[in-house]
């Protein structure tokens, strides 16, 4: 079987509207998490820090040339990153409409970013019904499919915070099983009253910028954004820039609790182990781990223990949530782009806001931007419902 390679990447997040802008912020250690961005209506906007894309929804529509009704902010963010990825991979219109081109996207908010509008519609407002056809998760990818006339396999996944890692895994499997020759995979989520209040009610939102793996971490910051990657068979990618190889993936369930990880971290451990097995790599081969590292009490401790359990000598690791916030269904795809950049640029980016290692664990993440020899990067994502997925990207 041909290796599956990354030939295009696109990202929009709180630290930039393009791969180049995101990269510049990563190198500088410049966070996108701020208070008072003001692009989504919520009493917590301005009170709590968020990783906002500082462009209004109307402005995004204009920039993307979206004039049809019913297109949500989630879809706009997805389209923005999708456009960059397909241009980067130089996919032609004919390739996009070919039956062997698949689209696999993930989202956890989808059209439910329109909390107020949905409430109005379900309580008798029958005049403003622009969005009633786009309340679900599939609406995001159906919009992209319609816009580009995609005729191959199109799918939408939602496994909470690991959604887009599963989209990347699923895209690779479509190629390996002969159901597609090229796939565009990723995820998108926009900030919404819905998720902000959900995570706030769970009391895991920090009122400061998140501090992954720090003893005094206070929780996560929500963010928004999108990222897509174009994956092709190596033989089909002749003459193209090859950013990295997708060399492994592992999916496991923690089977412990609806919204927190088991103390033993069985799900995270198994996802990482299955990814290594799938890539035929030993733990010692991994040079860097882009950790899930949300900054919550539960995740960072469990993830640390699971990593220590699997790796005799823990490689360098860091979480990029301090830059972007936790972008939920987009997180794994955004971090996949960052992992690809680790390989392509042969450098590591810092874990922001870290001061004191977690007591009893004592791990210190990467704290400064620096050059490094990177062959294999593991990227972790763990979600509600115990849905855990790890990916491995390798130097081509």
């Amino acid at each position: 079987m041909d290796r599956i390679v990354v030939t295009g990447i696109g990202v929009i997040s709180a630290i930039g509207h393009s791969v180049a802008e995101n990269h510049a912020a990563l190198v500088l250690g410049k966070t996108g998490i701020i208070k008072g961005g003001g692009n989504f209506p919520s009493r917590y906007s301005g009170l709590l820090p968020f990783g906002e894309v500082l462009t209004g929804t109307e402005e995004l529509k204009e920039k993307l040339g979206v004039t049809e009704p019913g297109v949500t902010r989630t879809s706009l963010l997805a389209l923005h990153a999708f456009n960059e990825a397909i241009a980067d991979a130089r996919l032609t219109p004919n390739q996009l409409t070919a039956t062997d081109t698949a689209l696999v996207g993930a989202t956890t908010v989808g059209g439910m970013c329109l909390t107020d509008e949905l409430y109005a519609n379900t309580h008798g407002d029958t005049e403003h019904i622009e969005y009633v056809k786009s309340y679900d998760y599939a609406s995001v990818n159906l919009h992209i499919q319609t816009r580009y006339g995609i005729t191959g396999v199109v799918n939408t996944l939602n496994t909470a915070c690991s959604s887009s890692a599963n989209a990347i895994m699923y895209g690779c499997r479509l190629i390996k099983n002969g159901l597609a020759n090229r796939v565009i995979v990723g995820g998108a989520d926009s900030l919404a009253k819905f998720t902000v209040n959900g995570f706030n009610a769970l009391r895991i939102l920090s009122d400061e910028a998140c501090a992954p793996f720090d003893q005094n971490r206070k929780g996560l910051n929500l963010g928004e954004g999108a990222a897509f990657l174009v994956l092709e068979k190596q033989a089909d990618a002749a003459g193209k820039k090859i950013y990295a190889v997708v060399s492994g993936y592992g999916n496991a369930n923690d089977a412990y609790h609806p919204s927190s990880l088991s103390p033993e971290g069985d799900g995270p451990y198994l996802a990482m182990k299955y990814a290594l097995d799938n890539a035929c790599l030993s733990p010692t081969a991994i040079d860097f781990i882009n950790a899930h590292g949300t900054g919550t009490e539960n995740n960072d401790e469990v993830e640390s223990r699971a990593m220590l359990c699997l790796f005799d000598t823990l490689p360098d690791f860091a979480s990029t949530k301090g830059f972007t916030g936790h972008t939920l269904g987009a997180a794994s795809a955004i971090e996949a782009v960052y992992s690809v950049l680790n390989i392509d640029r042969q450098e590591l980016y810092p874990n922001l806001n870290f001061n004191v290692p977690i007591t009893d664990i004592g791990l210190e993440p990467v704290l400064l931007n620096r050059a490094a020899t990177i062959t294999h990067v593991m990227s972790n994502s763990f979600g509600f419902g115990g849905n855990c997925t790890s990916l491995i990207f390798s130097k081509a």
Binding site: S42, R43, Y44, T108, M112, T115, D116, L118, Y119, N121, T122, T126, I129, V132, K133, Y135, D136, Y137, A138, S139, N141, L142, T151, V153, V154, N155, T156, L157, N158, T159, A160, N166, Y170, R173, L174, K176, N177, L179, F194, N197, G198, N200, A201, L202, N251, A252, N253, D254, A255, Y256, H257, P258, S259, G267, L270, G383, F384, G385, G386, N387
Partner: protein, 352 residues
């Protein structure tokens, strides 16, 4: 050829499809244009846990439990659903607005994410294997089927739990009605195919399948599946024709065509053009008067097809649109479309 065999299947639906006394002969009526699932008592779930579960989680894990009774754990759990948990999301949405984003409880938020069904099944059966939830609207179940078929290709000798689940919630019923997908005038399920207006009746169900690639002990084989995205009747007709040509012997016709005809005048042309592909050999039957319209209704059709092909159930008269000459159903074609744009074909046959 896909090596996807089905060993056991269960279904909690608006009809008497679950437990010991399955009876699809008697058609249970719709209420207020809705077909609600008949829920069993769920003796396995304890009080608090049961109270916290959304309806889709109850019917999904309730239908899955009998399939998990065997000692061998499935190597993965794969669920297709459009927006399971929407009722819980609706509750949370209302809290946000009505309490002005203050003093909220997270229960509904956590239960409202659609991967709750697959994770709840993993939790109650302590299954730490592969776990994935497909939410691609009217093709959510079909994508779950494709996932299972790929897994069986990648991991021969494995078993997977595959399911399709959706629920009627106040929110999705209201939104889909506003969008014109459910009938505005009163209509009974027994009359729905005579209706000449837009929209269908709303439904819900959970259908679960234990699948593998070994034909021993199988009740049915899912021989092929295809998904199509188009609003053009001619494109769809040509694709269904090609699907049959690719998957049946030359000149062979399905013994039974099971369609998702739903009483919506906008989708009728797709179903009648599909009907017209087959001659008097083929019996044509419909199922949505039993389960209602919902995004993963093709999983209910697959449950029926498994039971017809294996001879466990006989075709009730109320399903038949046109009686054909075939004396038994060895090959069954399921054709379904959801909201006109998304279509699928599945070919089910007796394992041989």
């Amino acid at each position: 050829m896909m090596k996807l065999y089905i060993y056991k299947t269960t279904c909690i639906s608006p009809q008497q499809t679950f437990g010991e006394n399955i009876d699809i002969e008697t058609l249970r009526p719709s209420v207020d244009n809705k077909l609600y699932a008949i829920e069993p008592a769920y003796p396995q779930f304890k009080g608090n846990a049961l109270r916290r579960m959304s309806k889709s989680t109850r019917i999904g894990s309730g239908a899955a439990l009998p399939l998990l009774a065997d000692a061998v754990q499935p190597n993965g759990i794969i669920i297709g659903t459009q927006v399971s948990g929407m009722e819980e999301n609706g509750k949370f949405l209302n809290q946000i607005i009505e309490y002005n984003e203050d003093m909220l409880t997270p229960g509904s938020f956590v239960q409202g994410t659609p991967n709750t069904i697959s994770s709840q099944i993993a939790l109650i059966s302590n299954n730490k294997n592969y776990n994935l939830t497909h939410v691609h609207r009217g093709l959510a179940f079909e994508n779950a089927v494709i996932d299972a078929a790929m897994l069986l290709n990648e991991n021969p000798d494995s078993r997977y739990l595959l399911g399709g689940v959706d629920e009627i919630s106040f929110n999705n019923y209201t939104l889909d009605t506003l969008a014109g997908w459910f009938k505005k005038e009163d209509c009974l399920n027994s009359d729905m195919y005579r209706s000449t207006t837009d929209g269908s009746l709303s439904g819900e169900a959970a259908a679960m399948f234990m699948v593998g690639n070994d034909k021993q002990n199988a009740i049915a084989q899912l021989k092929a599946i295809t998904t199509i995205h188009s609003a053009d009747v001619d494109v769809i007709k040509a694709r269904i024709k090609r699907f049959i040509e690719e998957n049946l012997a030359e000149g062979e016709q399905p013994d039974l065509l099971l369609t998702g005809e739903n009483g919506d005048k906008r989708s009728l042309p797709f179903y009648t053009s599909c009907d017209s592909l087959f001659d008097k050999h083929t019996t044509i039957a419909r199922f949505k008067h039993m389960c209602g319209e919902y995004p993963t209704a093709s999983s209910f059709a697959l449950w029926l097809a498994c039971n017809f092909v294996s001879g466990v159930l006989t075709m009730p008269q109320h399903m038949i649109k046109r009686k054909g000459e075939a004396s038994s159903f060895k090959n069954i074609l399921i054709y379904n479309t959801h909201k006109v744009g998304q279509h699928s074909c599945m070919l089910v046959r007796l394992p041989k």
